[in-house]
């Protein structure tokens, strides 16, 4: 192994190996393999029905592949349920954002921050917390302030800092998307799966998402990005994997895949078909 290849292997954090997913006679994913490295944005492109969302579902444990496996570092993820995969550091957002109704924007992020901050001691003892809250001890106030500041940072970064005290029920669609992203970043995941994070957003909101994606990359998170807005995807992705009809047809930098005749054919063929 060359030195460069060794460094590459060390940086690889998520490995998708020969994943096949069949639904009856339909092959949604056909022998797909690729890997993602720490601190990179890996774009996942492909025409409608190419299998992108299925791929995310397989990675995060919502669907079990017919064949093949997914591994996080040395840890095999295939077969583990969604919450176990999340606990190991793979977090995702959904095409339709999923909110915690009844919580405010700030609280939604704080819940996620707490899960991370307390680790194995989560959740803290209700009795002890009640006493600390009731007495308003100095330690308690300090903990609350630290949590609040961290939440404010994340909300400011995604561009919804001014919405902190709004109930989540009152958010517009784009705001929900940004909150879901802030909440996902709050758990400081190893791998972050973003499923069409830009769709339905206005230009300001798109800036917030792209800014957050770059910040996540700088923090060493491997970001997997499914996005129909090809221009934005190519502008932020370090590498791109292209799927078509469940098969991986190309992989490379943005510059490489955009001139790849197979990719062009897949997209144009799709539009004509």
């Amino acid at each position: 192994m060359t030195a460069a290849a060794a460094a590459d292997a060390a940086a690889t954090v998520l490995r998708v190996e020969a994943v096949t997913m069949r639904f009856g006679g339909v092959v949604a994913l056909d022998d797909v393999s690729f890997s993602a490295r720490t601190g990179e944005v890996l774009g996942v492109m492909g025409p409608n029905g190419a299998g992108k969302t299925t791929l995310f579902n397989v990675i995060c444990g919502l669907q079990r592949p017919t064949a093949g496996s997914v591994a996080l570092g040395d840890r095999r993820l295939t077969g583990l349920p969604f919450d176990r995969v999340a606990a190991l550091g793979v977090t995702r957002t959904f095409q339709t954002p999923v909110m915690f109704w009844g919580l405010t924007v700030r609280e939604s992020v704080e819940v996620a921050l707490n899960a991370r901050a307390f680790g194995d001691t989560y959740p803290p003892s209700p009795q002890r917390e009640l006493v600390a809250c009731g007495l308003g001890t100095r330690g308690r106030r300090r903990a609350e302030r630290a949590l609040r500041e961290r939440a404010a940072e994340l909300l400011a970064q995604t561009g919804i800092g001014t919405l902190a005290d709004r109930p989540t029920e009152s958010l517009a669609f784009g705001e929900e998307r940004l909150l879901e992203l802030a909440r996902a970043l709050a758990v400081a995941p190893t791998v972050l799966l973003l499923d069409e994070p830009l769709s339905g957003l206005n230009p300001d909101e798109i800036d917030g998402v792209l800014r957050s994606i770059r910040a996540a990359r700088a923090d060493g998170i491997a970001v997997l990005l499914v996005e129909h807005a090809v221009g934005e995807l190519l502008s932020v992705a370090d590498r791109v994997v292209v799927l078509d009809h469940g098969r991986r047809i190309a992989e490379g930098t943005a510059a490489e895949v955009t001139v790849d005749p197979i990719v062009i054919d897949a997209y144009i063929g799709d539009e004509l078909g």
Binding site: F82, A86, V98, F100, Y122, P123, C133
Partner: protein
């Protein structure tokens, strides 16, 4: 007019206990989606344990403390033995399980304590409390104080603690909450323990007024359920309001119409709420996802 005021006062005292039982219904329903029809039996366990220990010579407050712990332990046991093994079951099955649990606990109460009524001395000596011409027994202050503390603590818990915030997230969307490290099963367990402890505490503080008997859980369970539905099954303030409304209406109906109406009014109210305002007084009409 004086009589009516006296009924209202008596209704407030009973209603305070209904509110505690209703809070137990709401806690368990919110966290697990289960309607625990055995809720009234924790009132019985609390009342009977305190009364029998005090009768055996234990100081009243010590007996009261132990009774609450026993009720909480009974709630923990009920969850581990009857609910947890069936957590994959559907709603109707779980309702039958809690109904069975109710009968089983009452039977156990009969086995342990027999059919004789027990009494418990008031927690503090003193004269009757006079309020605008009406009178309440001194124990009423303990009853209302208990409500203030319990509901105050619940408010603090849900609005200001990290655990309470996590419970609210779990209530909003269980699968996603569990992906954020929120332990759903632990919360289900804790909701049963807390509901049982609160119900037991209700039984302990009310027993000095009417006394305790092995089958008292039936009355409190029904009243607590109606109070919870009246307030909206997903609202703790609703449970508090529902408890007082039901308590006052029961005493007014019992006093002004006939004693038979005291129980009947609960059913009447239940039907009325389900027809006119199914989401309850303070509940949200939004369905759970």
């Amino acid at each position: 007019m004086e009589a009516i005021w006296q009924y209202v006062l008596a209704g407030v005292v009973d209603g305070a206990i209904f509110a505690l039982v209703a809070a137990g219904f709401v806690l368990i329903y919110q966290v697990t989606g289960i309607i625990n029809f055995a809720q009234g039996e924790f009132v019985m366990i609390g009342g009977m344990t305190a009364a029998s220990l005090a009768t055996a010579g234990m100081p009243v407050l010590a007996a009261a403390g132990i009774a609450v712990v026993v009720a909480a332990a009974a709630g923990a046991l009920a969850y581990l033995v009857a609910i947890r093994p069936a957590r994959k079951a559907t709603g109707v099955t779980l309702i039958f399980i809690t109904l069975g649990l109710d009968v089983a606990i009452r039977g156990l109460g009969l086995f342990v304590w027999g059919t004789n009524p027990y009494s418990l001395p008031a927690f503090s000596a003193g004269n009757a409390i006079a309020i605008f011409g009406g009178v309440l027994p001194p124990q009423a202050a303990w009853v209302l104080g208990t409500d203030a503390i319990v509901f105050g603590a619940l408010y603090l818990f849900f609005r200001h603690t990290f655990v309470g915030m996590a419970v609210r997230a779990a209530v909003a969307n269980p699968p996603i909450a569990s992906a954020f490290g929120i332990p759903l099963r632990r919360f289900a367990f804790l909701s049963f323990v807390a509901a049982a402890a609160i119900g037991g505490l209700g039984g302990v503080v009310i027993t000095p007024i009417p006394g305790a008997q092995y089958d008292m859980g039936l009355t409190y369970g029904l009243a607590g359920f109606v109070a919870a539905v009246l307030g909206g099954l997903d609202s703790l303030p609703g449970a508090l309001l529902g408890g007082f409304v039901l308590g006052i209406l029961e005493h007014l109906a019992g006093g002004l119409l006939s004693p038979g109406w005291e129980q009947g009014i609960a059913f009447l109210l239940l039907v009325l709420v389900l027809v006119v305002r199914p989401q309850g007084l303070l509940g949200r009409a939004v369905r759970r996802a």
